[in-house]
């Protein structure tokens, strides 16, 4: 008989590593990581900037340092992995899942496993998806592709750059290009606010006097063979370019940081239910998908802005896989979660309280910049918890922690609704 794994993890990035480690610690003995790249660590290997790990390790690490801590743990636990391995297909055969994968060394392989954790991450939205008109010359890169070229391969991809999109990767790359001797002419952002962390605007743009042009987009790419420049335009409240605001900027490279999309081809083909709002699987508190025994975590579920939360989420999935194998996972949801108006989504979409230790963290994103607002959680008509913040930004994922005790008070509740409401005016002391 063929070997049957307890857990096979699809992807050896931060999510996959944390999931594998946690699965192993929670009763999964035969764990295997399948990674498509040439080493473990995923996208962190090219994210050489610092700022990772403040939540997890309470210090500022660079991406490779953060990855290395998890890689070391996985190695200490003797978790095997196969590199340069592409998973082609995941078949759900009930209690057993079968994974089809290829690599150069071992050829075409199938792996039978009791549980699977999907941690394939996400990919960048390409130029074609946003449909900038113009020629289609060399010199248009997604920020991540440029990052890999510069940080891992040691090649520059231009001397004078315009960056579209102020997501964190775009901001970080503005600094990287500058430090490596290129000029960054501008960072354009379609929205009236940045999609990156405030700190990155300060230390990546302001430090180097790189202008951030909010409510601006690129409306034409010049140059037939290689980028020669861009036309940028201001956009109105409808996000459409305003005629008459055209400005030509000469440059030889355009970097795009215009969003990330969870990579769920394998999940979709396997029949995993996908949430149209997150573009990721619908998951439970321990990140079980609609297929029993198939878990998912990290950017494949929803795009995170901090790797610390990826690790946190992946640990839940790993724990879920461990419980599933031991038959101790409660798969009946007690609650569904609902994102109220103004909230892009809430993860997890389902909650079984039996699987929760002390508290559960709901991840969500607001659609607009919110000031003087709170997010309230309701079960039925009753407000059960409140999340406060100085400001809610679309760029920053909201972590809303609710204790198990609170939720246990509503055995008949079916839905946890998250609603944006005005911040209560503080009562004046008499």
């Amino acid at each position: 008989m063929e070997k049957v794994y307890d857990t096979v993890v699809l992807g050896g990035g931060p999510a996959g590593l944390a999931a594998a480690i946690e699965a192993k610690k929670n009763g999964a003995e035969d764990v295997l990581i399948l990674e498509r790249d040439r080493e473990l660590g995923g996208i962190l290997n090219q994210c050489i900037h610092n700022g990772f790990g403040l939540h997890t390790f309470n210090e500022q690490l660079t991406g490779p340092e953060y990855a290395e801590r998890f890689i070391d743990q996985a190695k200490e636990l003797d978790i095997p992995y196969e590199l340069d391995t592409m998973v082609l297909d995941l078949e759900d055969e009930g209690d057993l899942k079968r994974i089809h994968a290829v690599n150069e060394e071992n050829g075409y392989q199938t792996f039978d496993t009791k549980s699977v954790v999907l941690t394939m991450g996400c990919r960048e939205r390409p130029a074609g998806a946003i449909g900038i008109p113009g020629f289609r010359p060399a010199g248009v890169f997604t920020a991540g592709t440029a990052q890999r070229f510069i940080n891992m391969e040691g090649y520059m991809c231009g001397k004078k750059a315009v960056i579209l999109g102020s997501g964190d990767i775009g901001l970080i790359m503005a600094r990287r290009m500058t430090l490596e001797g290129a000029e960054v002419e501008a960072v354009c952002e379609l929205m009236p606010y940045s999609n990156g962390l405030q700190r990155n605007i300060v230390q990546c743009l302001d430090d180097y006097d790189i202008p951030l042009k909010l409510s601006h987009t690129i409306t034409f790419i010049h140059g037939k063979d290689r980028v020669e420049g861009v036309t940028i335009q201001e956009v109105g409240p409808d996000l459409k370019p305003i005629p008459g605001t055209e400005e030509r900027i000469d440059c030889d490279v355009v970097l795009l940081s215009v969003g990330l999309l969870p990579e769920n081809e394998i999940s979709r083909n396997a029949g995993v239910e996908i949430d149209a709002r997150t573009n990721g699987p619908v998951v439970s508190e321990l990140r079980e998908t609609s297929i029993p025994g198939v878990f998912a975590a990290g950017n494949v579920v929803h795009v995170h802005d901090l790797v610390d939360f990826v690790s946190e989420e992946a640990a839940l999935a790993g724990k879920g896989a461990g419980k599933y194998i031991q038959g101790t996972l409660d798969q009946e949801p007690d609650f569904k979660t609902v994102a109220g108006p103004g909230l892009g989504y809430v993860v997890p979409q389902n909650v079984s309280l039996d699987n929760v230790d002390d508290s559960i963290t709901f991840y969500m994103r607001v659609r607009n910049v919110l000031e003087d607002k709170v997010i309230n959680a309701y079960i039925g008509d009753e407000k059960v918890a409140t999340k406060r913040a100085q400001k809610f930004l679309p760029a920053e994922m909201v972590n809303f922690k609710i204790s198990k005790k609170t939720l246990e008070k509503y055995p008949d509740g079916e839905e946890i609704r998250f609603v944006i409401e005005d911040k209560p005016v503080p009562k004046k002391k008499a």
Binding site: N45, G51, L54, P64, M152, L179, Q198, R199
Partner: protein
Amino acid sequence: MAEVRNLICISCPMGCNLTVTRDGDNITVTGNTCKNGEIYGIEEVTNPKRVIPTTVVCNGGKLKRLPVKTADAVPKSMIFDIMKEINKVSVDAPVEVGQVIIPNVLDTGVDVVATRTMPAE
């Protein structure tokens, strides 16, 4: 006459809005959520500092570039000078994470260190 500056703290992803008031030698920081915010606020108006994450040429390793950083924050005004020093250096794999690549770069008292283990190929 007190000088007031509004800053965004870069110590962590929270990005607190700080108000730093400087009156002679007396500097006060408000708006911070933690001690790091206060330190950042004071430093930012006296001697702003940054960590530089970048790469150096690496020979014989799995990759042609080794990621490095300044082990601590260095004066912001020295960033490009330090980059020049870093760009001159090449190292041979294998390299251990944390290994000092340039000790005390430009007399800042700060080392440039490797931020990953680079096995030899």
